[in-house]
């Protein structure tokens, strides 16, 4: 089982040094997780480290391809409020 990083990653490097398995590597256009090395931190930590420091909602997926940090869970911005603000900006 392995987590994965998707295109919303902003390449902030926060996850790379804290992975206990050295499973995370710099790649273009964004960081990637080596599925052969990733253990989801089982046995090492209660929470998957990369997903625990990652500041971007949705950038890291669970083994079931669901966002580890769903919209609103890190910024505290309710998703509907964000959608409203974006629509308002688009309409300008």
């Amino acid at each position: 089982m392995s987590l994965s990083i998707i295109e919303s990653c902003v390449n902030c490097w926060a996850c790379e040094p804290i992975c206990p398995n050295d499973a995370i590597y710099e790649a273009s256009p964004h960081f990637l997780i080596d599925p052969k090395k990733c253990t989801e931190c089982e046995g090492d930590y209660a929470d998957a480290q990369c997903a625990t420091i990652c500041p971007i909602e949705g950038a890291i997926l669970t083994a079931f391809d669901e966002p580890y940090n769903p919209p609103g869970s890190l910024t505290g911005i309710p998703p509907e409020k964000m959608a409203e603000a974006m629509a308002e900006i688009q309409a300008r």
């Binding site: 902003v10 390449n11 902030c12 490097w13 926060a14 040094p17 804290i18 930590y45 209660a46 929470d47 480290q49 625990t52 420091i53 500041p55 971007i56 890190l74 910024t75 505290g76 911005i77 409020k81 964000m82 603000a85 308002e88 900006i89 300008r92």
Partner: protein
């Protein structure tokens, strides 16, 4: 009445060095009473001395992308070339690239004295990249001051390492000392392998910040505290923050206005949290200044800014451009030493001149027994501490307060984007000039080197007297001369007490 003569106290207390008369954003008395060892550290640091920021430049290198906390005024999607605010950068650098860039800038902008690492994440959450940059620079460019800015979470663990690299200046962003308020600013921190949310996380952050501050002061490292003023969240509380950090030995407090726009995608921006008005900010800074040395000239710059505080020359030093620059640092260092010496001489000369001009006291124009209200004036300058910019070219104005106590620097006010496409911040159909008039609210005069006919009359109508008569004069002298003229014309005669209360 006995009128104070400009700069007199400073002249007698501090015959050399320190802050020039009346002008220093960082409270004059505290600056002029500084021991020589500290004065030596700050006199050419544009972020620690208001006077220095007219002459000396700084740069940030963006080597530190990772962060260990989330702040509600920050969005980690930071790659924007056109915005100027903290946490924003165009390209991330490796330590090697950062060293190359620093030396290229130091060779091309000899006024550059300071290299800071300020993100775009938290420098101390990237200790290897940050300290590798410092290690190389202290070896290869020993004439550059190194400094770092941090949220403080990892600070206690890094103090020894900072001291080892000769880091003389550390800025800690402290927005609160109360975990409940902290919970409204910091949604989470990463601590001991967990994401800790709310007041519990904020409490740990606050404890680490305070501990780090104490440890730095213990080591004799100069600490500046930055606070973001967030109306309704921490605005009243910041006076307490100011008192506490001062009592623990922080040198300078920089209260900055919250920047929050929906398009930044930050919590505060999207949720409609407003920033403070210029007046609210000034009132808070004034309220804190009784306890603390305040910084008022901060431009809230990008994590890759280059140049004088009011300018950004980063685009001249992109990676592909510095790649082709051939730098002889030995030669550059000699040139830099000469340039710095010339600036110092100029500053000392100005101080002496100022002392002479102090003979010109207000007594010439002021009438016995009368009091005169203070006046805010805006100044267009492109550096050097003189009124030397055309009104139409100014991207920002420096605001000074003239009173019978002298002239003091209050703040800068940015002219909103001259090429703004309209809409969000400009209001409907507002011209650039109307925007400037709005930005200059509260000012009664604007001093510049030149000004066109059209803006002249519009400014006058808006109650802001344009003045081009003091071109190339030192700012404080020009401002004071205009203040004297205003006194002479009877404009500033105090209203009755009843009127004063409502004023």
């Amino acid at each position: 009445m006995e009128l104070k003569v400009l700069g007199q106290e400073e002249a007698s207390e501090a015959p050399k060095g320190g802050c020039s008369a009346g002008s220093c954003g960082s409270n004059d008395d505290q600056m002029s009473h500084l021991p020589e060892s500290i004065r030596e550290k700050v006199y050419n640091h544009p972020c620690y001395s208001e006077e220095a920021h007219h002459y000396f430049a700084r740069m940030h290198v963006a080597v530190a992308p990772a962060c260990n906390i989330q702040c509600h005024y920050c969005n980690r999607k930071y790659d924007c070339a056109n915005e100027s605010r903290p946490g924003v950068v165009s390209e991330l650098l490796t330590p090697d690239q950062a060293v190359k860039k620093t030396m290229a800038v130091a060779a091309n902008i000899p006024q550059m004295t300071v290299l800071g690492i300020a993100g775009p994440g938290d420098p101390l959450a990237n200790p290897e990249r940050t300290f590798e940059t410092f290690r190389q620079l202290s070896e290869k460019a020993p004439d550059i001051k190194l400094c770092v800015s941090t949220n403080g979470l990892a600070l206690p663990d890094c103090v020894d390492e900072l001291a080892k690299h000769n880091i003389d200046h550390v800025t800690i962003t402290i927005n609160t000392v109360d975990p409940e308020i902290g919970a409204k600013i910091y949604p989470w921190i990463f601590w001991n392998n967990r994401r800790i949310r709310g007041a519990k996380g904020a409490k740990i952050l606050i404890e680490q910040q305070q501990k780090g501050l104490e440890m730095l002061v213990e080591k004799g490292i100069l600490v500046k505290v930055n606070s973001v003023m967030i109306p309704g969240v921490n605005d009243e509380h910041l006076q307490e923050v100011s008192r506490i950090v001062k009592s623990k030995g922080a040198f300078l407090h920089n209260v900055m206005p919250l920047i929050a726009e929906a398009e930044h995608g930050t919590f505060y921006g999207v949720m409609g949290q407003r920033g403070p008005s210029a007046k609210e900010l000034q009132d808070l800074q004034d309220a804190c200044s009784g306890d603390m040395n305040m910084m008022r000239h901060c431009r809230q710059c990008r994590a890759d800014a280059v140049g004088l505080l009011g300018e950004d020359r980063g685009s001249e030093f992109t990676l592909d451009k510095i790649e082709h620059m051939d730098i002889d640092y030995e030669a550059a260092m000699e040139k830099r030493a000469k340039v710095h010496e010339a600036i110092e001489n100029e500053l000392n000369e100005k101080r002496t001149e100022k002392d002479d001009s102090n003979i010109v006291s207000l007594a010439e124009v002021a009438e016995e027994g009368k009091s005169y209200r203070p006046v805010l004036m805006a100044v267009a300058t492109s550096g050097g501490g003189v009124i030397n910019q055309h009104f139409g070219h100014a991207r920002e104005f420096l605001v000074y307060e003239a009173s019978t106590e002298g002239v003091r620097f209050i703040s800068h006010r940015k002219v909103e984007d001259l090429y703004c496409s309209g809409g969000d911040t400009c209001g409907d159909g507002e011209t650039v000039l109307q925007g400037i008039i709005r930005v200059l609210e509260g000012c009664e005069a604007v001093l510049c080197s030149k000004i066109g006919y059209e803006p002249w009359s519009e400014l006058e109508e808006a109650g802001i007297q344009p003045n081009g008569e003091h071109a190339m004069e030192a700012i404080e002298e020009g401002v004071f001369a205009v203040y004297k003229e205003m006194i002479e014309s009877g404009k500033l005669d105090q209203e009755t007490d009843a009127e004063k209360v409502t004023a």
